[in-house]
Protein backbone atom coordinates (compact mmCIF):
# COMPACT_ATOMS: atom_id res chain seq x y z
CA UNK A 1 0.00 0.00 0.00
CA UNK A 2 2.13 2.87 -1.18
CA UNK A 3 -0.04 4.88 -3.49
CA UNK A 4 -1.34 7.45 -1.10
CA UNK A 5 -3.59 10.13 -2.52
CA UNK A 6 -4.22 13.35 -0.66
CA UNK A 7 -7.16 15.75 -1.07
CA UNK A 8 -8.84 16.05 -4.46
CA UNK A 9 -8.52 19.08 -6.74
CA UNK A 10 -6.49 21.32 -4.48
CA UNK A 11 -3.07 21.70 -6.07
CA UNK A 12 -1.93 24.82 -7.93
CA UNK A 13 0.00 22.93 -10.60
CA UNK A 14 -0.36 24.32 -14.16
CA UNK A 15 1.32 23.20 -17.35
CA UNK A 16 1.45 25.30 -20.49
CA UNK A 17 1.52 22.67 -23.22
CA UNK A 18 2.16 25.38 -25.84
CA UNK A 19 5.49 26.26 -24.24
CA UNK A 20 6.49 22.64 -23.49
CA UNK A 21 9.40 21.38 -25.59
CA UNK A 22 8.96 17.76 -24.57
CA UNK A 23 12.35 17.41 -22.87
CA UNK A 24 10.87 15.15 -20.19
CA UNK A 25 12.70 16.78 -17.29
CA UNK A 26 9.46 17.08 -15.28
CA UNK A 27 8.97 13.31 -15.56
CA UNK A 28 12.48 12.75 -14.23
CA UNK A 29 12.18 14.97 -11.16
CA UNK A 30 8.58 14.30 -10.12
CA UNK A 31 8.42 11.96 -7.12
CA UNK A 32 4.79 11.00 -7.76
CA UNK A 33 4.47 10.32 -11.49
CA UNK A 34 2.25 13.31 -12.14
CA UNK A 35 3.40 13.77 -15.75
CA UNK A 36 3.49 11.66 -18.86
CA UNK A 37 4.89 12.36 -22.33
CA UNK A 38 2.31 12.07 -25.08
CA UNK A 39 2.96 13.10 -28.65
CA UNK A 40 6.20 14.89 -27.78
CA UNK A 41 4.64 17.00 -25.03
CA UNK A 42 4.28 16.58 -21.29
CA UNK A 43 0.79 16.16 -19.86
CA UNK A 44 -0.54 16.15 -16.33
CA UNK A 45 -2.00 12.68 -15.82
CA UNK A 46 -2.17 12.35 -12.03
CA UNK A 47 -2.94 15.83 -10.76
CA UNK A 48 -4.07 14.69 -7.32
CA UNK A 49 -0.72 12.95 -6.74
CA UNK A 50 1.07 16.32 -6.86
CA UNK A 51 2.53 17.49 -3.54
CA UNK A 52 3.58 20.92 -4.84
CA UNK A 53 7.27 20.35 -4.18
CA UNK A 54 8.12 22.55 -7.16
CA UNK A 55 10.90 20.39 -8.62
CA UNK A 56 9.25 20.27 -12.07
CA UNK A 57 8.80 24.03 -12.26
CA UNK A 58 12.37 25.00 -11.40
CA UNK A 59 13.81 22.29 -13.65
CA UNK A 60 11.66 23.18 -16.66
CA UNK A 61 14.06 24.88 -19.10
CA UNK A 62 11.24 26.69 -20.92
CA UNK A 63 9.23 27.71 -17.84
CA UNK A 64 6.12 25.88 -18.97
CA UNK A 65 5.17 24.78 -15.46
CA UNK A 66 3.74 26.83 -12.65
CA UNK A 67 3.13 25.61 -9.13
CA UNK A 68 2.91 27.51 -5.87
CA UNK A 69 5.37 25.32 -4.09
CA UNK A 70 5.80 24.81 -0.39
CA UNK A 71 5.89 22.22 2.31
CA UNK A 72 2.62 20.48 3.10
CA UNK A 73 3.19 20.65 6.83
CA UNK A 74 0.55 21.75 9.33
CA UNK A 75 3.16 22.67 11.95
CA UNK A 76 4.90 24.80 9.32
CA UNK A 77 1.68 26.61 8.45
CA UNK A 78 0.99 27.26 12.14
CA UNK A 79 4.54 28.60 12.56
CA UNK A 80 3.99 30.82 9.55
CA UNK A 81 0.81 32.25 11.06
CA UNK A 82 2.42 32.76 14.48
CA UNK A 83 5.50 34.46 13.02
CA UNK A 84 3.55 36.29 10.35
CA UNK A 85 5.72 34.79 7.62
CA UNK A 86 5.65 32.18 4.90
CA UNK A 87 4.91 28.63 6.08
CA UNK A 88 8.17 27.14 7.33
CA UNK A 89 8.82 24.03 9.30
CA UNK A 90 11.28 24.46 12.12
CA UNK A 91 13.52 21.62 11.02
CA UNK A 92 16.65 23.70 11.49
CA UNK A 93 18.26 24.14 14.85
CA UNK A 94 17.63 21.85 17.75
CA UNK A 95 13.87 21.81 17.67
CA UNK A 96 13.75 19.70 14.55
CA UNK A 97 10.47 18.11 13.79
CA UNK A 98 8.73 17.82 10.56
CA UNK A 99 11.26 16.24 8.28
Amino acid sequence: MNDFVYLKDVVTLKLDTEKCNGCGMCLKVCPHEVFKLKGGKAHIVNRDFCMECGACAINCPVQAIFVRSGVGCAAGIINGILNNSEPACDCSGNKSACC
Partner: protein, 383 residues
Protein backbone atom coordinates in the same frame (compact mmCIF):
# COMPACT_ATOMS: atom_id res chain seq x y z
CA UNK B 1 47.27 6.32 23.33
CA UNK B 2 45.43 9.43 24.31
CA UNK B 3 44.16 11.54 21.47
CA UNK B 4 43.57 15.21 22.01
CA UNK B 5 40.13 16.55 21.23
CA UNK B 6 41.57 18.76 18.51
CA UNK B 7 42.88 15.90 16.40
CA UNK B 8 39.59 14.10 16.87
CA UNK B 9 37.61 16.95 15.32
CA UNK B 10 40.16 17.46 12.54
CA UNK B 11 39.94 13.83 11.64
CA UNK B 12 36.42 12.48 12.12
CA UNK B 13 36.03 8.76 12.85
CA UNK B 14 34.59 8.03 9.40
CA UNK B 15 37.73 9.32 7.63
CA UNK B 16 40.29 6.57 7.05
CA UNK B 17 43.00 8.62 5.40
CA UNK B 18 43.72 11.11 2.68
CA UNK B 19 44.07 10.94 -1.10
CA UNK B 20 46.70 13.16 -2.67
CA UNK B 21 45.32 14.95 -5.71
CA UNK B 22 46.31 17.89 -7.87
CA UNK B 23 44.07 20.12 -5.78
CA UNK B 24 45.38 18.86 -2.43
CA UNK B 25 44.52 16.17 0.08
CA UNK B 26 40.97 14.84 0.05
CA UNK B 27 39.65 12.78 2.96
CA UNK B 28 38.86 9.18 2.10
CA UNK B 29 35.91 7.81 4.07
CA UNK B 30 35.02 4.29 5.12
CA UNK B 31 32.16 2.75 3.15
CA UNK B 32 31.30 0.45 6.05
CA UNK B 33 29.40 2.07 8.88
CA UNK B 34 30.83 1.52 12.33
CA UNK B 35 29.10 1.04 15.63
CA UNK B 36 29.61 4.75 16.29
CA UNK B 37 27.72 5.68 13.10
CA UNK B 38 24.89 3.29 13.93
CA UNK B 39 24.63 4.61 17.47
CA UNK B 40 24.43 8.14 16.05
CA UNK B 41 21.63 7.01 13.74
CA UNK B 42 19.62 5.50 16.57
CA UNK B 43 20.14 8.67 18.62
CA UNK B 44 18.96 11.11 15.94
CA UNK B 45 15.95 8.90 15.28
CA UNK B 46 15.10 9.60 18.91
CA UNK B 47 15.77 13.35 18.54
CA UNK B 48 19.10 13.24 20.40
CA UNK B 49 21.73 15.58 18.96
CA UNK B 50 19.54 15.84 15.86
CA UNK B 51 20.13 19.53 15.26
CA UNK B 52 23.87 19.09 15.23
CA UNK B 53 24.46 15.83 13.36
CA UNK B 54 26.64 17.17 10.59
CA UNK B 55 29.64 16.52 8.42
CA UNK B 56 31.90 19.23 7.08
CA UNK B 57 30.81 20.39 3.61
CA UNK B 58 33.27 19.71 0.80
CA UNK B 59 34.79 16.84 -1.15
CA UNK B 60 35.30 13.28 0.08
CA UNK B 61 36.58 10.13 -1.62
CA UNK B 62 35.26 6.58 -1.61
CA UNK B 63 37.68 3.86 -2.74
CA UNK B 64 40.30 5.08 -5.21
CA UNK B 65 38.60 7.65 -7.42
CA UNK B 66 40.31 9.25 -10.41
CA UNK B 67 39.63 12.28 -12.59
CA UNK B 68 37.08 10.14 -14.45
CA UNK B 69 35.12 8.96 -11.42
CA UNK B 70 31.52 9.85 -10.66
CA UNK B 71 30.63 12.69 -8.31
CA UNK B 72 27.68 12.16 -5.96
CA UNK B 73 26.15 15.22 -4.33
CA UNK B 74 24.57 15.07 -0.88
CA UNK B 75 23.59 17.13 2.17
CA UNK B 76 25.72 17.61 5.26
CA UNK B 77 23.22 15.86 7.55
CA UNK B 78 25.35 12.95 8.69
CA UNK B 79 22.51 10.46 8.24
CA UNK B 80 22.28 11.43 4.53
CA UNK B 81 26.05 11.20 4.18
CA UNK B 82 26.13 7.78 5.89
CA UNK B 83 23.37 6.43 3.65
CA UNK B 84 25.29 7.52 0.60
CA UNK B 85 28.73 6.15 1.52
CA UNK B 86 27.25 2.85 2.66
CA UNK B 87 25.64 2.43 -0.74
CA UNK B 88 28.82 3.33 -2.61
CA UNK B 89 30.64 0.34 -1.18
CA UNK B 90 33.20 -1.15 -3.59
CA UNK B 91 32.87 1.82 -5.96
CA UNK B 92 35.46 4.50 -6.65
CA UNK B 93 33.72 7.84 -6.44
CA UNK B 94 33.78 11.39 -5.15
CA UNK B 95 31.22 12.73 -2.74
CA UNK B 96 30.41 16.44 -2.81
CA UNK B 97 28.76 17.50 0.44
CA UNK B 98 26.74 20.71 0.31
CA UNK B 99 26.23 22.92 3.35
CA UNK B 100 22.58 22.36 4.26
CA UNK B 101 22.99 23.24 7.96
CA UNK B 102 22.65 19.59 8.93
CA UNK B 103 19.31 19.05 7.18
CA UNK B 104 18.56 16.12 4.84
CA UNK B 105 18.45 16.58 1.05
CA UNK B 106 14.69 16.80 0.54
CA UNK B 107 13.91 19.17 3.40
CA UNK B 108 16.99 21.29 2.70
CA UNK B 109 15.95 21.55 -0.95
CA UNK B 110 12.52 22.71 0.19
CA UNK B 111 14.09 25.27 2.51
CA UNK B 112 16.50 26.52 -0.13
CA UNK B 113 19.81 25.45 1.40
CA UNK B 114 20.30 22.48 -0.94
CA UNK B 115 20.15 24.87 -3.85
CA UNK B 116 21.45 25.86 -7.24
CA UNK B 117 23.64 28.57 -5.75
CA UNK B 118 25.03 26.29 -3.03
CA UNK B 119 25.90 23.60 -5.58
CA UNK B 120 27.53 26.07 -7.99
CA UNK B 121 29.48 27.75 -5.19
CA UNK B 122 30.51 24.43 -3.65
CA UNK B 123 31.83 23.27 -7.03
CA UNK B 124 33.80 26.54 -7.14
CA UNK B 125 35.25 26.52 -3.64
CA UNK B 126 36.20 22.84 -3.74
CA UNK B 127 37.82 23.36 -7.20
CA UNK B 128 35.96 20.30 -8.45
CA UNK B 129 36.47 21.42 -12.04
CA UNK B 130 40.22 20.99 -11.59
CA UNK B 131 39.87 17.60 -9.90
CA UNK B 132 37.82 15.86 -12.56
CA UNK B 133 37.95 15.98 -16.34
CA UNK B 134 34.29 15.14 -16.98
CA UNK B 135 31.46 17.52 -16.18
CA UNK B 136 28.78 15.39 -14.58
CA UNK B 137 27.47 15.53 -11.03
CA UNK B 138 24.85 13.08 -9.78
CA UNK B 139 22.24 14.73 -7.57
CA UNK B 140 19.64 12.71 -5.66
CA UNK B 141 16.29 13.20 -7.37
CA UNK B 142 14.66 14.83 -4.36
CA UNK B 143 17.35 17.52 -4.54
CA UNK B 144 15.57 18.73 -7.68
CA UNK B 145 13.20 20.62 -5.39
CA UNK B 146 16.05 23.07 -4.75
CA UNK B 147 18.30 22.63 -7.75
CA UNK B 148 17.65 23.72 -11.29
CA UNK B 149 19.73 21.57 -13.63
CA UNK B 150 19.75 24.00 -16.54
CA UNK B 151 20.72 26.92 -14.30
CA UNK B 152 23.60 24.95 -12.81
CA UNK B 153 24.83 24.27 -16.33
CA UNK B 154 24.52 27.91 -17.33
CA UNK B 155 26.09 29.29 -14.18
CA UNK B 156 29.05 26.94 -14.14
CA UNK B 157 29.87 27.77 -17.72
CA UNK B 158 29.51 31.51 -17.43
CA UNK B 159 30.38 32.62 -13.94
CA UNK B 160 34.04 33.57 -13.69
CA UNK B 161 36.16 31.45 -11.32
CA UNK B 162 36.37 32.88 -7.85
CA UNK B 163 33.03 34.60 -8.30
CA UNK B 164 30.35 33.39 -5.94
CA UNK B 165 26.65 33.84 -6.53
CA UNK B 166 23.63 34.23 -4.31
CA UNK B 167 20.27 32.63 -4.85
CA UNK B 168 18.72 36.09 -5.28
CA UNK B 169 21.15 37.04 -8.03
CA UNK B 170 20.27 34.04 -10.16
CA UNK B 171 19.47 35.21 -13.67
CA UNK B 172 16.35 34.14 -15.48
CA UNK B 173 17.93 31.94 -18.10
CA UNK B 174 16.45 32.38 -21.54
CA UNK B 175 18.63 30.21 -23.70
CA UNK B 176 21.47 32.69 -24.14
CA UNK B 177 25.07 31.89 -23.47
CA UNK B 178 25.91 35.10 -21.69
CA UNK B 179 24.84 35.64 -18.11
CA UNK B 180 25.20 38.87 -16.12
CA UNK B 181 28.31 37.29 -14.60
CA UNK B 182 30.44 37.32 -17.70
CA UNK B 183 31.37 35.37 -20.77
CA UNK B 184 31.51 31.65 -21.19
CA UNK B 185 34.52 30.40 -19.30
CA UNK B 186 34.45 26.63 -19.56
CA UNK B 187 32.13 23.69 -20.01
CA UNK B 188 29.30 23.81 -17.57
CA UNK B 189 28.36 21.00 -15.19
CA UNK B 190 25.59 18.62 -16.13
CA UNK B 191 23.28 17.66 -13.31
CA UNK B 192 22.08 14.11 -13.66
CA UNK B 193 19.26 13.19 -11.29
CA UNK B 194 19.90 9.90 -9.59
CA UNK B 195 17.46 7.66 -7.75
CA UNK B 196 15.39 8.89 -4.80
CA UNK B 197 17.08 6.35 -2.55
CA UNK B 198 20.84 5.84 -2.27
CA UNK B 199 20.00 2.14 -2.06
CA UNK B 200 19.36 2.13 -5.82
CA UNK B 201 22.60 3.82 -6.88
CA UNK B 202 24.31 0.67 -8.09
CA UNK B 203 21.27 -0.35 -10.15
CA UNK B 204 21.16 3.20 -11.49
CA UNK B 205 24.78 2.90 -12.67
CA UNK B 206 24.12 -0.51 -14.21
CA UNK B 207 21.10 1.02 -15.95
CA UNK B 208 23.48 3.51 -17.67
CA UNK B 209 22.70 6.42 -15.34
CA UNK B 210 18.99 6.40 -16.06
CA UNK B 211 16.62 6.20 -13.10
CA UNK B 212 13.82 3.74 -13.69
CA UNK B 213 10.20 4.37 -12.75
CA UNK B 214 10.69 2.48 -9.52
CA UNK B 215 13.80 4.50 -8.57
CA UNK B 216 11.99 7.80 -9.14
CA UNK B 217 9.00 7.14 -6.93
CA UNK B 218 8.73 8.24 -3.35
CA UNK B 219 7.17 5.67 -1.07
CA UNK B 220 5.76 5.83 2.44
CA UNK B 221 5.85 2.28 3.69
CA UNK B 222 4.96 1.03 7.14
CA UNK B 223 8.66 0.88 8.12
CA UNK B 224 9.30 4.36 6.77
CA UNK B 225 6.37 5.71 8.76
CA UNK B 226 7.34 3.81 11.91
CA UNK B 227 10.88 5.22 11.77
CA UNK B 228 9.55 8.79 12.00
CA UNK B 229 7.37 8.22 15.04
CA UNK B 230 9.91 8.75 17.86
CA UNK B 231 10.93 12.19 16.55
CA UNK B 232 7.31 13.18 15.99
CA UNK B 233 6.32 11.82 19.37
CA UNK B 234 8.98 13.90 21.12
CA UNK B 235 8.17 16.98 19.02
CA UNK B 236 5.05 17.79 21.02
CA UNK B 237 6.41 16.81 24.43
CA UNK B 238 6.08 20.27 26.00
CA UNK B 239 2.52 20.69 24.72
CA UNK B 240 1.77 17.26 26.16
CA UNK B 241 3.18 18.28 29.55
CA UNK B 242 1.04 21.44 29.52
CA UNK B 243 -2.04 19.33 28.74
CA UNK B 244 -1.09 17.00 31.62
CA UNK B 245 -0.82 19.97 33.96
CA UNK B 246 -4.22 21.35 32.90
CA UNK B 247 -6.16 18.10 33.41
CA UNK B 248 -4.27 17.42 36.65
CA UNK B 249 -5.23 20.78 38.12
CA UNK B 250 -8.84 20.58 36.89
CA UNK B 251 -9.13 17.09 38.38
CA UNK B 252 -8.71 18.71 41.78
CA UNK B 253 -11.95 20.68 41.35
CA UNK B 254 -15.05 19.77 43.30
CA UNK B 255 -18.16 21.45 44.70
CA UNK B 256 -16.16 22.55 47.69
CA UNK B 257 -13.32 24.16 45.75
CA UNK B 258 -9.96 22.78 44.68
CA UNK B 259 -8.02 20.10 46.49
CA UNK B 260 -4.54 18.78 45.82
CA UNK B 261 -5.46 15.39 47.23
CA UNK B 262 -8.34 15.09 44.77
CA UNK B 263 -6.03 16.10 41.91
CA UNK B 264 -3.63 13.32 42.89
CA UNK B 265 -6.44 10.79 43.22
CA UNK B 266 -8.20 11.56 39.96
CA UNK B 267 -5.54 13.40 37.97
CA UNK B 268 -3.54 10.32 37.11
CA UNK B 269 -6.29 8.65 35.11
CA UNK B 270 -7.09 11.98 33.44
CA UNK B 271 -3.43 12.32 32.42
CA UNK B 272 -3.52 8.78 31.05
CA UNK B 273 -6.53 9.67 28.89
CA UNK B 274 -4.62 12.64 27.45
CA UNK B 275 -1.60 10.40 26.89
CA UNK B 276 -3.70 7.84 24.99
CA UNK B 277 -5.18 10.65 22.88
CA UNK B 278 -1.64 11.75 21.99
CA UNK B 279 -0.62 8.18 21.15
CA UNK B 280 -3.75 7.80 18.98
CA UNK B 281 -2.73 10.85 16.96
CA UNK B 282 1.01 10.39 16.63
CA UNK B 283 1.56 6.63 16.85
CA UNK B 284 -1.59 4.80 15.79
CA UNK B 285 -2.68 7.19 13.04
CA UNK B 286 0.69 7.18 11.17
CA UNK B 287 0.99 3.39 11.45
CA UNK B 288 -2.57 2.74 10.30
CA UNK B 289 -2.53 5.60 7.76
CA UNK B 290 -3.58 3.72 4.61
CA UNK B 291 -6.30 1.78 6.43
CA UNK B 292 -8.02 4.78 8.00
CA UNK B 293 -10.98 6.23 6.10
CA UNK B 294 -10.85 9.72 4.62
CA UNK B 295 -8.02 11.63 3.00
CA UNK B 296 -7.50 14.43 5.47
CA UNK B 297 -5.11 13.69 8.31
CA UNK B 298 -7.30 15.57 10.79
CA UNK B 299 -10.20 13.23 9.98
CA UNK B 300 -8.01 10.14 10.22
CA UNK B 301 -6.77 11.35 13.61
CA UNK B 302 -10.32 12.08 14.76
CA UNK B 303 -11.36 8.53 13.89
CA UNK B 304 -8.41 6.96 15.74
CA UNK B 305 -9.17 9.20 18.71
CA UNK B 306 -12.81 8.11 18.68
CA UNK B 307 -11.81 4.44 18.55
CA UNK B 308 -9.37 4.90 21.43
CA UNK B 309 -12.12 6.68 23.39
CA UNK B 310 -14.51 3.78 22.86
CA UNK B 311 -11.82 1.30 23.96
CA UNK B 312 -11.15 3.37 27.09
CA UNK B 313 -14.89 3.42 27.84
CA UNK B 314 -15.04 -0.35 27.54
CA UNK B 315 -11.92 -1.05 29.59
CA UNK B 316 -12.52 1.48 32.35
CA UNK B 317 -15.05 4.24 32.08
CA UNK B 318 -13.06 7.43 32.76
CA UNK B 319 -16.14 9.56 33.27
CA UNK B 320 -18.07 9.72 36.52
CA UNK B 321 -21.17 11.25 34.89
CA UNK B 322 -22.51 12.05 31.43
CA UNK B 323 -20.82 15.44 31.34
CA UNK B 324 -17.46 13.89 31.94
CA UNK B 325 -18.06 11.06 29.47
CA UNK B 326 -18.89 13.54 26.73
CA UNK B 327 -16.01 15.80 27.74
CA UNK B 328 -13.53 12.94 27.29
CA UNK B 329 -14.88 12.12 23.86
CA UNK B 330 -14.36 15.74 22.77
CA UNK B 331 -10.93 16.07 24.38
CA UNK B 332 -9.52 12.76 23.15
CA UNK B 333 -10.76 13.03 19.57
CA UNK B 334 -9.78 16.72 19.42
CA UNK B 335 -6.21 16.09 20.60
CA UNK B 336 -5.79 13.04 18.37
CA UNK B 337 -7.07 14.95 15.34
CA UNK B 338 -4.73 17.91 15.96
CA UNK B 339 -1.69 15.75 16.57
CA UNK B 340 -2.38 13.57 13.51
CA UNK B 341 -2.75 16.70 11.40
CA UNK B 342 0.79 17.63 12.33
CA UNK B 343 2.00 14.38 10.80
CA UNK B 344 1.32 15.93 7.35
CA UNK B 345 4.79 17.49 7.66
CA UNK B 346 6.39 14.08 7.99
CA UNK B 347 4.39 12.49 5.21
CA UNK B 348 5.76 12.25 1.70
CA UNK B 349 2.66 13.17 -0.30
CA UNK B 350 0.78 16.12 1.21
CA UNK B 351 0.68 19.46 -0.60
CA UNK B 352 0.70 22.93 0.93
CA UNK B 353 -2.65 23.79 -0.69
CA UNK B 354 -4.16 20.56 0.64
CA UNK B 355 -2.94 21.04 4.20
CA UNK B 356 -4.21 24.64 4.17
CA UNK B 357 -7.60 23.41 3.02
CA UNK B 358 -7.91 20.74 5.67
CA UNK B 359 -6.73 23.11 8.40
CA UNK B 360 -9.38 25.67 7.51
CA UNK B 361 -12.05 23.16 8.46
CA UNK B 362 -10.23 21.14 11.09
CA UNK B 363 -8.55 23.72 13.32
CA UNK B 364 -11.78 25.56 14.33
CA UNK B 365 -13.37 22.19 15.09
CA UNK B 366 -10.36 21.03 17.10
CA UNK B 367 -10.41 24.25 19.12
CA UNK B 368 -14.18 23.92 19.68
CA UNK B 369 -13.86 20.27 20.71
CA UNK B 370 -11.12 20.88 23.26
CA UNK B 371 -12.71 24.05 24.66
CA UNK B 372 -16.19 22.55 25.04
CA UNK B 373 -14.57 19.35 26.31
CA UNK B 374 -12.72 21.24 29.04
CA UNK B 375 -15.81 23.25 30.00
CA UNK B 376 -17.86 20.05 30.36
CA UNK B 377 -15.00 18.51 32.32
CA UNK B 378 -15.12 21.42 34.79
CA UNK B 379 -18.95 21.29 34.96
CA UNK B 380 -18.76 17.56 35.66
CA UNK B 381 -16.50 18.26 38.64
CA UNK B 382 -18.47 21.09 40.24
CA UNK B 383 -22.07 19.94 39.90
Amino acid sequence: MKRSKNIESDHPHYVQGYIHTRIGNIPRVYEKLTRKDLLGTVMVRWSINRGNYRVKPGLYAIGNPTELSDVFVTANYKLSFDHLRKNLERLDAWILVLDTKGINVWCAAGKGTFSTSELVNRIRVTRLEELITHRRVIVPQLGAVGISAHQVKKLTETVAPGHLITQASLPVVKGVNISPFGLKTNNGFNVVYGPVKALHIKDFIINKYVATREMRKVTFTFTERARLIPVDFLYGKYKLLIAFAIVFILSGLSKSGISFQLAVDRGLSAMLCVFFAYVAGIVITPLALPYLPGRSFALKGFITGAVVYILLMIISNPGRNYYEMISWFLIISGISSFVAMNFTGSSTYTSLSGVRKEMKVAVPLQIAFSTIGLILFVIAKII
